[in-house]
């Protein structure tokens, strides 16, 4: 016996350590669960961390109202399996109550509006720790974010004033009204996520695998025709075999052309791909070099 772990077991052990640390030290943690693959993996690791007990925290979905139905079905099935408590924070409710104003122009998304809904829900439920599935390989600003990411009473992230994070000693101290975002999958890459899904045989919503659906092209991205994202006038709609690399708001998540209809094929595809996950699929990050940093400063996931 060599007493070594594979890299997947090592990063899983790290994530479990972080989750238990949070459960031990915070009063009211919650885990953001959207039905996207990263949050599915995060929830899977959480279930392992506290086995055979139930999850010691609430799940929350920030619902933009622009969903893929199969993802919502998956979310509800998983919540039932785990006998967990789910809070749905609705962006539509934030719009209806006048907390945010929706941009109705063509091509506008509800992505940025989620921040207000999220922060309102954190305040309402008095959550003091919020688990997110973000990874540092996703984006440059995230590469510099801590595992425990401190947020002030406005939910803001200050990248120049982060707490040093040493060894595996995490500082979760905060005052009333402040909270900490926790990213247990910080050190995972997109490929790690897929290899872990394979190893652990984790089921995923079907849209992560290649299927044929009507699409159109917009700004170089492949967008599925969806009730919240109809093809603009004059755009050519055609059938294509596609899959989703990320699943977010249906109006700002693009598909990629793919024949990968199994986990094994997706792993081969991800290993060979030459475009980042966000670059290939996120309309919202195309605006500027610092789009993600700006959203994060305001309190985005």
């Amino acid at each position: 016996m060599s007493y070594t772990l594979t890299h997947l077991r090592a990063i899983e052990a790290e994530a479990i350590h972080i989750m238990r640390e949070v459960a031990a030290e915070f009063e009211r943690p919650c885990l953001l669960f959207s039905g996207g693959k990263d949050s599915i993996v995060m929830l899977h690791v959480a279930a392992k961390a506290f086995y055979p007990a139930k999850l010691p925290f609430t799940l929350m979905h920030v619902d933009t109202g622009h969903n893929f139905q199969e993802v919502l079905d998956y979310r509800d099935r998983r919540v039932a399996e785990l006998d967990a408590r789910l809070v749905v924070a609705s962006v539509q409710a934030s719009i209806d109550s006048g907390r945010v104003v929706e941009d109705k122009r063509p091509g506008a998304t509800r992505n940025r509006l989620q921040t207000t809904t999220l922060l309102d829900a954190i305040e309402e439920h008095r959550f003091d720790a919020v688990f997110g599935g973000a990874r540092r390989d996703e984006e440059k600003a995230r590469a510099k974010e801590r595992v425990y990411s401190f947020r002030d009473e406005f939910g803001q992230w200050d990248p120049k004033n982060q707490r040093p994070e040493l060894w595996s000693l995490y500082n979760g101290r905060h005052k009333a009204g402040e909270h900490i975002r926790i990213f247990p999958l910080s050190n995972w890459t997109e490929l790690d996520i897929w290899q872990y899904i394979k190893d652990e045989e984790i089921p995923l919503p079907a849209i992560y695998f290649a299927h044929t659906r009507p699409v159109f092209r917009q700004h170089g991205l492949i967008m599925a025709v969806h009730e919240v994202c109809p093809a603009p006038p004059g755009a050519e709609v055609f059938d294509m075999k596609v899959r989703y690399r990320t699943v977010g708001d249906a109006s700002c998540t693009a598909a990629v052309e793919s024949d990968a209809d199994t986990v094994d094929k997706v792993i081969v595809e991800v290993a060979a791909t030459r475009i980042t996950e966000r670059g290939a699929t996120r309309v919202d990050d195309k605006f500027s070099e610092a789009a993600m940093e700006d959203r994060k400063r305001e309190g985005y996931f």
């Binding site: 790290e14 007990a53 995230r142 040493l166 101290r173 905060h174 475009i275």
Partner: protein, 418 residues
């Protein structure tokens, strides 16, 4: 099986650190086309003569605007043999604090020097901090060999100068690689420009370095993190002690002692959701069940009766001070976090400040300023279960938290009892 290797890079932009990281990521196909296009476009817009690889790692607006690196950035790449996590620490701003942070979890440190300039004060400082943090492997990369005509004499002279200096330090394992990050010489493959060099390419060395023996598999330490009590019909009497193995190997049936009570019992099972395991070793996160019901909770330490950590409230430590607001001095009080224990600590004495360029001990200064290291005596409100940092990086380390601002202000490495 792919293993995980964490390494920290040290060096300034001028040493070609960003270029080297860019090269490792690019040659292992971890830089994506859209990232590359964006870096090329921004370099062009800024009128830079070459594609500035530093833009790949500098993620924050202020960094791009000011052309500096502010914070530790984590980068990832993998080969079929290993997955690598790079803690990329900036050379200038908040230098020591960032380097200590990056080195705290590193298996290996990569120190870059410019072949034209040789060992600088900064290189010595990198080496001293790296060895203080007990990074087990150090690789000195002599970069820009293309600018010294790939001269063996230049390389050998830098190598022997560094070896002489390192003899004063406790370096576990030291290697030297002559490279040109810009041209890729000896980065991924052996260079034809330096036939006199008989060692491995840098990447091969990173893939090959033996890290399995770096962990302490002798002194069994299990700090209890969380108690799992399902309180369900199926697991009515279940009481599992969750934690991460910090040292040694735990087996089912082992006789163990639980601190602070000092009572002994046996391990009845080691659980995970994948099923029971026979043995647990670092850094596994598992759940241990004990045969007898003895007082055990977060902060307890499970170990072996004949191999216990030190127990005490008076501790000598090297501290790296990280507060921008005020210096550390005798009489100051903090929250201390050590393994899974949290207590309060008071500073009894600052015996010296260490010059990280010369190893000289400045006695009688009585305080530590931002980014300074020094030897400090602490007293804690309750006993800690600790080992010397040199024996165990998990049970020998702690952080200090300011009770007013909640900021992490100190990183400590335990030397022993006063």
């Amino acid at each position: 099986m792919t293993e995980l290797l964490r390494f920290a890079t040290a060096g300034s932009v001028d040493d070609g650190k960003s270029t080297l990281i860019g090269r490792l990521l690019f040659d292992s196909k971890q830089i994506f086309e859209d990232q590359w296009d964006s870096v090329e476009r921004v370099s062009r817009e800024r009128g830079e003569g070459y594609t500035n690889l530093a833009l790949l790692t500098d993620g924050l607006r202020a960094e791009r605007e000011q052309g500096i690196t502010i914070d530790v950035a984590y980068r990832y790449f993998a080969t079929p043999r290993r997955k690598f996590i790079i803690a990329d620490t900036p050379g200038h701003v908040q230098y020591t604090r960032n380097m200590v942070t990056g080195a705290s979890t590193a298996d290996l440190a990569l120190i870059l020097v410019d072949a034209r300039h040789g060992i600088q004060e900064q290189s010595r400082r990198h080496a001293i901090l790296t060895t203080m943090l007990r990074v087990p492997h150090v690789v000195l990369c002599v970069n820009k060999m293309d600018l010294v005509d790939y001269s063996q004499d230049v390389f050998e002279s830098i190598k022997s100068e560094f070896q002489n200096f390192a003899a004063k330090l406790e370096v576990g394992d030291l290697s030297f690689v002559p490279i040109s990050a810009l041209n890729g010489d000896n980065v991924v493959t052996r260079s034809e420009n330096m036939p006199w060099y008989e060692g491995s390419s840098l990447l091969h060395l990173l893939e090959d370095v033996h890290i399995a023996s770096d962990r302490n598999l002798i002194d069994s330490r299990f700090p209890v993190q969380y108690v799992i009590r399902p309180m369900s019909d199926d697991y009515h009497d279940y009481r599992g002690f969750a934690g991460t193995v910090a040292g040694g190997i735990f087996k089912v049936g082992d006789e163990v002692v639980v601190l602070p009570s000092g009572l002994t019992t046996k391990i009845s099972s080691i659980d995970s959701m994948d099923g029971p395991v026979d043995e647990a070793f670092p850094p596994m996160s598992v759940t241990i069940r004990l045969e007898d019901e003895i007082d055990t909770s977060r902060g307890s330490m499970i170990c072996r009766p004949k191999n216990q950590p030190q127990v005490g409230q008076d501790i000598e430590a090297m501290i790296c001070w990280m507060s921008e607001v005020k210096p550390l001095g005798a009489g100051d009080r903090f929250t201390i976090k050590h393994t899974t224990q949290t207590a309060r600590a008071i500073v009894k004495d600052v015996s010296y400040q260490l010059d990280v360029n010369s190893l000289h001990r400045n006695e009688g200064v009585g305080k530590l300023n931002l980014n300074e290291l020094g030897r400090v005596t602490l007293r804690t409100t309750k006993p800690l279960f600790y080992d010397e940092y040199r024996r165990n990086r998990s049970t020998g380390s702690f952080i200090l938290i300011d009770e007013g601002t909640n900021a992490t202000v100190g990183a400590g490495m335990i030397l022993g009892s006063p």
